[in-house]
């Protein structure tokens, strides 16, 4: 019971390569998030699974059945679009009912299913309205209802929350999470928002330049990023990465000096801003440049002529002022080591 992309490549007519030999396999029932910066191919991957785009090379399979050349309607996949794509000339009820009407569902069954899914998404009282009379959040719920009402095997969502305002986005995120737990369907969700990815996904597929960089559960992505790109892409503020040399178990770069457990030679050292320890006797000193308070956290940016270091802390920083020299310590367990050339994780 799985969906698989095998060596899927997509080249567009204008010469851009959106997907470059993508290999991805996940089980039905998962909540998979495709995450990546713009141009990484995440939307293309989603549209290829939907059948709205055809891959230049490669195969797509669901349950071992090759669906590469099937039209969208024969794939058993529903989809939610970023701009909702509701039929403006139909009522909310008819919008939701449309996939069932196409499938010639009996009137009683149709009515029952539309009302069930409307209740599930809390839009039961808007059924008689026109899409133009809905708020963004309501319209998005209708779009989700329409994608789920005919019980497709997979539900695709292409940046469904991007058009909503911040508060509503958080709310809909929770709703989607609940919906997935309740329905136990396969959700494939495209986003460029790492927070959305972290909260929703059972597994996150991080794409870069049309290739899969890492496919793991959110915790692993955060704790053991597969390479420097993932390390810097996930987490806010981004992970501190420093290029330097290890000699006799001591790492030196322009910014920092610290003891590491790593063979000698060039290496890229990484540490998350929230795992850096301030004060104490160990470590090295750096000058505080900027202090930003983001309650309850404080962001401290240290600078010297070779680079910067960002620290996120929950401790009270009232005693610190820009210009002050602060002692900084990297706990050995929190360090990430990446190959200086390829950026791949070393251990």
């Amino acid at each position: 019971m799985a969906v698989s992309f095998t060596e899927v490549t997509k080249r567009f007519a204008d010469g851009t390569t959106a997907l470059d030999g993508l290999n991805l396999k996940f089980d039905l029932g998962e909540f998979v998030v495709l995450l990546g910066p713009s141009g990484s191919g995440k939307t293309t991957a989603c549209r290829i699974l939907a059948g709205l785009e055809h891959p230049s090379e490669g195969r797509i399979e669901i349950d071992g059945r090759d669906i590469t050349n099937l039209p969208p309607r024969m794939r058993g996949i529903g989809m939610v679009f970023q701009n909702y794509a509701l039929y403006s000339h139909k009522s909310v009820y008819e919008n939701i009912a449309y996939p069932l009407r196409i499938r010639k569902t009996s009137p009683a069954e149709l009515d029952r299913r539309v009302k069930d899914v409307a209740e599930l998404l809390q839009i039961g009282s808007y059924l008689h309205r026109r899409p133009s009379q809905l708020s963004g959040g309501q319209a998005q719920r209708v779009a989700v209802a329409r994608a789920l009402v005919w019980e497709p095997t997979i539900c695709l969502m292409d940046e469904p929350l991007s058009n909503l305002d911040a508060l509503l986005r958080l709310h809909m995120r929770t709703e989607l999470n609940r919906l997935h737990k309740r329905l136990n369907k396969t959700f494939v969700f495209v986003t460029h928002d790492q927070e959305e990815a972290m909260t929703l996904a059972s597994r996150i597929a991080i794409l870069k330049d049309g290739k899969l960089v890492q496919f793991d559960d959110p915790r692993t992505i955060y704790r053991r990023p597969a390479n420097r790109f993932v390390a810097e892409f996930m987490g806010r503020p981004a992970m501190n990465t420093m290029d330097g040399m290890v000699e006799n178990g001591v790492f030196r770069s322009g910014q920092v000096t610290c003891r590491v457990q790593c063979p000698d030679g060039p290496v890229t050292l990484g540490i998350r801003p929230e795992q850096i320890v301030l004060g104490g006797d160990e470590g090295f000193a750096m000058k505080l440049d900027v202090k930003e308070t983001v309650e309850p956290d404080t962001l401290l940016i240290f600078t010297n002529d070779k680079g910067t270091l960002t620290v996120r802390t929950q401790r009270d920083c009232d005693d610190l002022a820009p210009g002050q020299s602060v002692n900084i310590h990297f706990p050995p367990d929190s360090l990430h080591y990446f190959d200086a050339k390829t950026g791949e994780r070393l251990r």
């Binding site: 007519a13 939907a50 059948g51 709205l52 039209p71 969208p72 309607r73 996949i77 529903g78 989809m79 679009f81 970023q82 701009n83 909702y84 794509a85 509701l86 039929y87 403006s88 000339h89 449309y98 996939p99 196409i102 499938r103 026109r130 899409p131 133009s132 809905l134 708020s135 963004g136 319209a139 998005q140 329409r146 994608a147 005919w150 058009n163």
Partner: protein, 272 residues
Amino acid sequence: MNRSYKILAVGVLACILVITLTPYLWMLLTSFKGRLDILSPDPRWFFTPTLDNYPAVFIDKDYLPLVLNSLIISTASTILSICIGAPAAYVFARTDFPGKEDLFFFFLTTRMAPPISIAVPLFMFFTLLGLTDTVYAVVIAHTTFNLSLVVWMMRGFFAEIPREIDEAAMMDGRSRLGAFIRVIIPMAAPGVAATAVLCFILSWNEFLYAFILVAFEGRPLTVGIPGLITPHGTLWGQVAAVAVVATLPILIFTFLVQRHLVRGLTFGAVKG
């Protein structure tokens, strides 16, 4: 300032109304005049009205079937133009292919040549096909100029509907063609209606091709009017009567177009 501007605007509009409506009113009055009133050397606004002209031309001269011919020609040409033109416009609105804009411009150029320049070739083609003196010939001839209108107008209407609507329809279970016919066309209905009404009017008013292609059978009203110029003089009262009947549908349809051309009736899908 604002007030004088308003007075100026009303004045200009009044002038335009007088200029455009006077001939029409004169035609309307003429259709109810007797022969003497029509031919009187000084224009007569007041006269004893008569209804004789209408039965004289539509019943005695058997012009009633011409109304039917006009209806058949205009309706058929409109339907044909929409059926061929709308899918073409949809392709222009949705897909990219080499030479697309050139081909699109070509549709416009088909209307640039003076119609008379292709009238004779058209006549020769239809003679070859044995279609001269039938409504079919006029229907096809009118489709040649209505088609470019449909392609040009409908492309804009389709382009206003987001692509995601097509895609949503396909995800919901329609084929590509099904999405176009069952979802996109109904959503573009106001545009389709406006285009259809314009096609109908253009075809209804057309004289040149109809005059060259049909002599007797299948004559529309426009071609019937010259038949009232007789060796004994022009029957102005009957000409006016035919003209009044010929302008009625146009009057009705113009008001329809006016309402349908006002945008913002649909396309609420993106705004949400």
